[in-house]
Symmetry: C3
Subunit: 334 residues, 3 copies
């Protein structure tokens, strides 16, 4: 890995264009806290495959557009260049670019909103990062969530937004008794992978697999935590009685995947105490997913990755020290 | 009081078990800002009496369980031991333990949630405390409220939660004209005491009386402010035209009781200016109670003590100095 | 201007009563970030004219009462006198005083609430200002919004509030296809001026003109940004397909007006980069207006100026430096 990176690093330093490509790939990878172009490449492959398979090519297009505009915005606004170089101003844009064409028909207004939204997401990234710097906590995917919520909410208010994928606003109603029959191993294995792929709003097993491979290129523990986070989320959701179809689609897992990677391997180095803390955080994320599903149901918008964001902020703010000072990793996202 | 405490303090220092008991009792007392085992004992007696009288013994069991798990969690997570010793990591857990069996049928999922929720409440306590330390403001009962809201909201989303005591989600509707007839003295006296008892989600006059006695053991002004806070809340609610039955049950008073004790005697030493400020805060709390009743009605969850939390934060953040520096008390909760 | 001010300044320093008047006028002007008694005088004239024309004289009375009580509260609570002198504790009160009689029938409870609300708005101003001082960001009209939201929400809960101007709580519904016909120049010109006047909750062209004149007395760029902000908001709202009648009444413009003045001339000195940033912020404010219209529709309360508040906080928090340190203006509101 180190040698591969050196050759690439050489070429990248020489060529302005390649440096941009490298930065954009890292931006994709930062959605799951990785500062690695290889990881980002697999993520983009996964998005491309999933978008093609599910018949939503505009999601792949939106992803690339959002990634580019978000990063460009950081240059224009004068963000610190070392942050830009790590991809920290691309990961919110790529998610905005995946989300908007998922919920809107791909008309002109939609593409204008992808561009504007990715730009806004970088402004909000700078705002949230400065706010949270006081406690040395990262913005997580908060800027993506806030930007996209604003635009999704606004769609109910403006006639030119073509709404296609939003739930109907309604009062929360408890589902009937949960099914007692356990699903088979294959269904579970698919649900775990779809849980990983849903981080980018795509429900596709191969995409999930490509994401895990990409993570492993950058950090094997990250890949393992991602898989385990999805599995733990399925177990928790099943114990509490979640809707089976939603679990099969990965909708209770994607935020938990991010919490597991974040607490388990990104903001702390893994050891036994950290693993238990990440487990606790992952369980909390599933409850938060349920709570936010309900809290947002009268507004007719999805939670996006906010269950992860709130879990990460609450579990990182205590600033617990699980190991001697010298062994700690510093947080990968500013 | 001081001598009693000395003998007790002696025994407590010698015996690990007694120190735990003493810590737990202080945890109960910290719900109303008291660092006193005697006060906590009366609180537990009050909860026990109320739970027995009202036919809800699981609330008393939940209280003890939540108190224990919350405090244990602080040990496990490595919270500062002087904070734990003052009971600052028990008061959110005891409230979570009172609340969940009040709103849920006491099945297995409920008890698992009491344990998990009390644990989460300590994580959130550490998070909120670190966040607010920047302004030297305490977490109040915020961690209890956030934890319980998450779990109550999630109950609409998962089939295995047995909902028994939650209101139906609905749009807010203004009540018809308020009754012009004033209730009698006895009804008012009961309403004042029930307002105090509702701090622990119990509507029982004797419980309210035991709480006032407990407060008086620790601080006579605290006890007086509690009683007066409840009375002021009744007057304010009646002036604004609140539902009589809700007032008779203490539902407009419990947050106001906490605001009155907090502003009047816990975070400031009482003098005339402080009394007027506490009065203002108490009136604000009743308006906030009405506002939050409405804001939460589409979600079908109760306000819990959030009207107090928001009032305390807003009225303490200005950091007003009502007396010379040397005379001020330091805040009792971290 | 400078000489005028000197004579006035002389008299003002000699006479306690005139100093109060001068402070109150500055309080009115601070709603649009101006520290100028002349500007405030035109604002009060505009409010008076609009209230008279629209047949709502109680709004003018409420404005003066709220302005006075908010400023008085700051004296009583011991706020820094240089802040009071600049009008920083009057601008939230005047808005509370405009808002409550707009939404409530002018009965006794309403006037009590204007007095109490203006007082609370100063407490909340001190709280929010201290909170935000950490990042050197101003409270904006946040204290007005929070105070008024609390009171408006509470009105659904208490029988003695006489609700007259609040929308019905309902689920958000997307409007039908937007009209393709462009309105004429006159209609647009009126809509721009009404957008300015709606900052004080009044829909009247002459009032808008008086506000622009008042702004020009204090700062010509502020006046230009106000007009342009309203125009940009109309264009944005029309592009997105907003309800024509709401645009004609100025309801998509008033927050954008504040964002444009704030980002363009108050917190930054105007240059090309600042103008583009203010334009971006203004467009964002219109989307936020739509989003908040939707988010608040189940609660039946209006957004007030919160779209501006959230835009200003998000766009000022990044603390972007558009010019050399020595040329920057310091923020006018604490």
């Amino acid at each position: 890995m180190a040698e591969q990176k050196n050759t690439w690093a050489h070429r990248v330093e020489k060529c302005h264009f390649l440096r941009w490509i490298d930065t954009l790939l890292r931006g994709a990878a930062q959605v799951m806290f990785q500062d690695s172009a290889w990881c980002g490449l697999f993520f983009l492959l996964g998005i491309g495959w999933g978008a093609w398979e599910e018949g939503i090519p505009e999601v792949a297009l939106g992803a690339v557009l959002g990634l580019f505009v978000g990063t460009l915005a950081a240059h224009i606004l004068g963000a610190p260049s070392e942050d830009i170089r790590k991809g920290l101003h691309g990961y919110n844009g790529i998610l905005v670019g995946c989300a908007l064409p998922t919920f809107f028909g791909a008309n002109t207004v939609c593409w204008v909103l992808v561009v504007a939204g990715s730009f806004f997401s970088t402004v909000i990234m700078l705002a949230v990062s400065r706010f949270l710097r006081t406690w040395k906590v990262s913005a997580m995917t908060g800027p993506f969530v806030f930007t996209t919520w604003f635009i999704l909410l606004a769609s109910y208010n403006f006639a030119r937004f073509k709404m296609t994928g939003l739930p109907h606003p309604s009062f929360p109603i408890q589902p009937a008794e949960a099914a007692a029959v356990l699903p088979g191993i294959e269904v579970l294995a698919r649900a775990v992978l779809k849980g990983v792929s849903q981080v980018f709003l795509i429900g596709n097993e191969v995409t999930g697999l490509l994401f895990l491979v990409g993570l492993a290129c950058s950090s094997l523990p990250a890949s393992i935590f991602a898989w385990c986070g999805s599995a733990v989320a399925i177990a928790t959701a099943a114990f509490l009685g979640a809707d089976e179809r939603a679990v099969a689609e990965g909708l209770y897992q994607f935020s938990a995947v991010l919490t597991a990677i974040g607490l388990g391997s990104a903001f702390y180095s893994p050891n036994w105490r950290v693993i238990l803390y990440a487990l606790l955080g992952t369980v909390f994320t599933v409850i938060a997913q349920g709570a936010l599903n309900v809290a947002l149901s009268p507004l007719g918008i999805p939670t996006l990755t906010f269950p992860f964001v709130i879990a990460a902020w609450l579990f990182l703010l205590p600033n617990l020290q699980f190991m001697p000072e010298s062994h700690r990793t510093t947080s990968p996202s500013a």
